[in-house]
């Protein structure tokens, strides 16, 4: 059941990210649904699942939309790993935490990716990119997680209840 849920989520996030989000561009800013999903899994599941999910989502993005392999995969996996750490001290029922986490995760992801991709030339545009791309994107991701986290939380709860029943039998 858990793997079926993961598979459906994987396919859905792929379609949503590359099919629909492109049309939902706001002032030249597009949200990153993969980050939203990774942070949700960070909170709802464990770090292994989150890293694996991040890696494979990144890999699909690499295969289709980049000329490097493992560029996105590595950054998504590292983001998944790093932002899973604080959840040892928080409850997943707290809907506010994923919002803060996705905000900082977006900033981390964008800066790390830009540094690796552009190298030193990135610093020339750092403030412009922060103001015009990274912060708006982070806010856009916060809005997305606001909608999707409760849905995923509910579905995950159902999946866990089903699994527990199955184990008891």
């Amino acid at each position: 059941m858990r793997w079926l849920f993961n598979l459906v989520l994987f396919v859905f996030s792929f379609g949503f990210n590359f099919g629909l989000l492109d049309k939902l561009e706001l002032n030249y800013v597009k949200a990153d649904f993969f980050l939203v999903i990774i942070i949700c899994l960070d909170v709802l599941r464990n770090e292994t699942e989150s890293i694996l999910f991040g890696f494979f989502l990144g890999l699909t993005r690499d295969i289709f939309f980049s000329d490097k392999i493992c560029f996105y995969a590595a950054i998504y996996a590292v983001t998944g790993y790093l932002f899973c750490k604080p959840f040892k001290y928080f409850y997943r029922e707290n809907f506010f935490i994923p919002m803060i986490l996705v905000f900082f995760a977006t900033i981390f992801f964008e800066i790390t990716g830009s540094v690796f991709y552009y190298g030193f030339s990135f610093y020339k545009y750092l403030f412009y990119v922060l103001n015009r791309i990274i912060f708006p994107k982070a806010i856009y991701n916060v809005v997305l997680i606001l909608f999707f986290y409760p849905i995923l939380y509910y579905i995950n709860k159902k999946v866990e209840t089903f699994e527990n029943k199955f184990i008891k039998r």
């Binding site: 590359f18 099919g19 492109d22 949200a31 993005r61 289709f64 939309f65 000329d67 791309i133």
Partner: protein, 275 residues
């Protein structure tokens, strides 16, 4: 009064005779007093009766035909729905027709080339790479480094081919560099994507001679120096020239609209070269 009570019949006869005489006089003298008085009393009543009768008749007919009306109502609703559906269908067909016309127009612009049309199937949602996917691949004879054209001009080049789809590196990507010339002055330079302007669908003109004569609105076309891009393809127009510390930042607005890119054409071969 006692007399009247006793002679009731006589009084009645006298009253009737008097009354008839009055009517007679009324007719002879054409006073029409009685007819008017009677009309004043009875006509509204009559009108009311006729209206009530007509209303009742209509209602009875309506009740008789209620099943027919219901059926007719259902039929009309179905017809209206059908019409709506048809209207929507025509609207979609009209839009499709417009798009195909635009594509045909686009194809006629590039008569010298052997072109293949393709649809954009996916775009990355704001990453570091500006790559989009098209639905033509190796099976359709597409190869790496083939030039991709959109609505009015150059859109990019193929960087990776799979059986059924290909990756196109768009003109606004930082990795893409196109040798260009100003169609007005023949000054040579390069068009490159830029991090700052990429999101707005713009790019920069670089390595242009410092003294080159350039004005906003100048048309930029591909030069004869490129190995990949055929010469003379429209790249875009100069949108703005920023002067910053005596350095010129030349912003180019590509002829292709990368935000709403849906159909593209791929140059398979130049017809003249084939001959």
């Amino acid at each position: 009064m006692k007399f009247l009570k006793r002679r009731k019949k006589l009084a009645l006869i006298i009253f009737i005779i008097c009354f008839c005489c009055l009517i007679f006089l009324d007719r002879v003298l054409e006073l029409n007093f009685f007819a008017d008085s009677l009309g004043f009393i009875f006509l509204p009543v009559e009108k009311f009766c006729i209206a009530t009768f007509n209303w009742s008749q209509k209602k009875i007919i309506f009740l008789n035909n209620i099943f027919e009306i219901e059926n007719e109502n259902i039929r009309l609703k179905e017809e209206a729905e059908k019409n709506n559906f048809e209207r929507q269908k025509y609207k979609i067909l009209e839009q499709e027709n417009q798009k195909l016309n635009a594509l045909l127009e686009m194809k006629s612009k590039f008569n010298d080339y052997d072109l293949v049309g393709a649809n954009v199937i996916a775009k990355d949602s704001g990453g570091w790479f500006d790559i989009f996917l098209i639905d033509k691949g190796l099976n359709d004879g597409i190869k790496n480094n083939m030039v991709v054209l959109a609505k009015n001009g150059l859109a990019g080049k193929i960087i990776d081919c799979q059986k059924n789809f290909s990756k196109v590196l768009s003109l606004i990507d930082e990795k893409n560099s196109v040798s260009i010339k100003n169609s007005r002055t023949d000054d040579l330079g390069f068009v490159k994507g830029n991090l700052k302007f990429k999101n707005q669908g713009l790019c920069l003109v670089e390595f242009l001679d410092e003294n080159a004569d350039l004005i906003e609105g100048d048309e930029i076309v591909t030069s004869h120096l490129s190995e990949i891009y055929p010469k003379g393809l429209l790249v875009g127009q100069i949108k703005k020239i920023n002067l910053d510390n005596n350095e010129r930042e030349i912003i180019l607005e590509p002829a292709s609209d990368f935000k709403n890119i849906e159909h593209v054409l791929i140059i398979k071969q130049q017809k003249n070269l084939e001959e």
